[in-house]
């Protein structure tokens, strides 16, 4: 397997993405929402009368942080839908499969083309989130809440793991659906486990601390490995041409 070949496949997708306005909007809107809205809410909370006490700020920031993982699971779905189902609609997979690329190179290329833009968008969102909330909360806390270990675990374990999970899920869904919209709709199912984690956190059944985040990340990584085997089994020339109807 040559990385350079996989990169070619990804680079071609990036060129195609430039023309997919809807997808680009999705790439921008979600990170903007999850980075700007928390700062705005926090800004309201610390400036109202009576203001939110300093001790109340960290739990809110931790709760917001988990949205970075949720976003990481969401954003690549749209891209994975375009990169694989879109290609299926155009029937452009067959010449690609007839070229001197291995199944692994094509799958890796497709994975990169969905993971990379999603992570860049979400990291940008993450940085804006940290800077924005730090700026708003500093006067009350007298220290910068971010960066901290919890967010480090989220940024470097949780977000990539969630992104990869989402893309692999996208590959599996793509093998069964024929239009970009249903691929994305199917992917929305992924929202539920994260919603449950969020609710558990809010109801104090779990605390969203560094340890919990690390555990969640490890679970995500395990799911990644399982999905990896399923998606590579499905992403074979024969399967694609004869069963991906």
């Amino acid at each position: 397997m040559k990385l350079s070949k996989a990169w070619l496949v990804a680079a071609r997708d990036f060129k195609i993405f430039k023309h997919q306005k809807n997808m680009l909007y999705g790439l921008v809107i979600f990170p903007v929402i999850i980075s700007i809205i928390p700062s705005a809410i926090l800004n309201y909370a610390v400036n109202r009368d009576p203001p939110l006490p300093a001790a109340g700020i960290p739990p809110i920031l931790d709760a917001f942080s988990i949205f970075l993982i949720i976003g990481s699971a969401f954003v690549p779905l749209g891209i994975a839908g375009y990169t694989i189902v879109g290609e299926k609609v155009e029937k452009s997979l067959e010449p690609l499969l007839a070229g001197p690329l291995t199944d692994g190179e094509i799958l890796l290329g497709k994975t990169i083309s969905a993971v990379l833009p999603a992570l860049i968008a979400m990291y940008t969102g993450g940085v804006i989130f940290m800077v924005g909330t730090d700026a708003v909360s500093y006067p009350s806390l007298n220290y910068y809440y971010f960066p901290n270990w919890t967010i480090a675990v989220i940024l470097f374990l949780g977000m990539p793991a969630a992104t990869i999970m989402s893309v692999e899920f996208g590959v599996i869904v793509s093998s069964r659906v024929n239009d970009v919209r249903s691929a994305t709709n199917f992917g929305a199912l992924m929202f539920f486990p994260f919603l449950i984690i969020y609710i558990l956190g809010q109801t104090k059944l779990i605390t969203l601390d560094t340890e919990t985040m690390a555990k969640i990340s490890v679970i995500l990584l395990v799911i990644d490995v399982v999905l990896f085997f399923i998606s590579t089994a499905l992403f074979k020339r024969e399967e694609i041409l004869t069963k991906w109807k």
Partner: protein
């Protein structure tokens, strides 16, 4: 160049390709003819290592299609234009070619030269930066062939390249294939257009799950050569009809004012028949003997193997 040996493909219980054997020589344009569902696409996909074979074997340039390492080598030396062109609609003509040139490891200067060569030849150079989605079907088909040729493959597989094209676009694509033929490219052409096969191909194989027949267009015609005598009359009256029916002619067919039957003894026994018609009061306008066409051969062979 291509050696096929008892190659079969089954999809579950359905046999799509049944034990075909044939060889295609270097520099040959081979036409693979057959009705819908005959297994043409399935055969090409097996040869291009896109789907696995069920049994038998095939080799391209000595590489085995069933072998994993050989598969990659085969894909380096072939070009495929699938039945649905499969271009990236959102990419420009140039980028479509550029991508495949890169996939095939062409150097930067080679890429530039070859892309320009093809786009100029196809009259698409001015549109090189336009999204392929805006192209006509004929332009797309030509571009897809250029894409398949970008790395100068040893064998080019074309799956029904003129289907769904209007006559003019079909002609430009056909002319392009004829150009390639002059350059001695080995071409495997799937088609159900007999006329096209006859005009372009050196040899034709007729497929209907099994390989029904194979040979030059002329071989095939000769193999089932039936010449027909056609007699056109002013009018086929009852008495004329009775008189010809009495002669018990092979495959007699009366349609409107025309009587047709299989020619006996190369036409040297036509005169007694004409005489009988005249005797019965018929006014004969034209008597002619016509040869069988490839279409007759095709329909006959496919019909026999239904």
């Amino acid at each position: 160049m291509i050696e096929i040996d008892n190659l079969s493909k089954k999809f579950g219980d359905l046999t799509a390709v049944d034990s075909i054997s044939m060889n295609i020589n270097e520099g040959e344009v081979f036409g693979f003819l057959g009705p819908n569902g005959a297994g043409k696409t399935t055969t090409v996909r097996m040869l291009c290592t896109l789907i696995s074979k069920t049994s038998g074997n095939a080799r391209i340039s000595g590489y085995n299609i069933g072998d994993k390492d050989d598969s990659l080598k085969i894909r380096k030396i072939i070009g495929l234009v699938p039945d649905n062109v499969g271009l990236s609609e959102h990419l420009s003509a140039y980028d479509n070619l550029e991508f495949f040139a890169r996939v095939h490891d062409l150097s930067k200067t080679e890429r530039k030269e070859r892309i320009q060569y093809f786009l100029e030849m196809l009259g698409l150079w001015d549109k090189r930066n336009v999204s392929v989605g805006t192209f006509s079907k004929g332009m797309k088909q030509k571009l897809a062939i250029a894409r398949a040729l970008i790395h100068d493959p040893q064998v080019l597989f074309l799956d029904e390249p003129t289907a769904n094209l209007d006559p003019e676009a079909a002609k430009t694509v056909r002319d392009f294939i004829l150009d390639l033929k002059k350059q001695k490219k080995t071409i495997f052409l799937n088609t159900h257009n007999l006329d096209e096969a006859q005009r372009i191909c050196d040899r034709i194989g007729i497929l209907n799950t099994k390989l029904v027949s194979i040979g030059t267009p002329k071989d095939l015609e000769d193999a089932v050569r039936v010449r027909k005598t056609v007699i056109e009359l002013e009018q086929v009256t009852d008495s004329v009809l009775k008189s010809v029916q009495k002669l018990s002619l092979p495959n007699l067919d009366v349609e409107g004012n025309t009587i047709t039957f299989d020619t006996i003894d190369s036409g040297s026994k036509n005169w007694p028949i004409v005489e009988a018609i005249v005797h019965a009061g018929g006014h004969v306008n034209i008597v002619k003997v016509v040869g069988s066409t490839l279409e007759d051969v095709y329909l006959k062979l496919v019909g026999e193997n239904q």
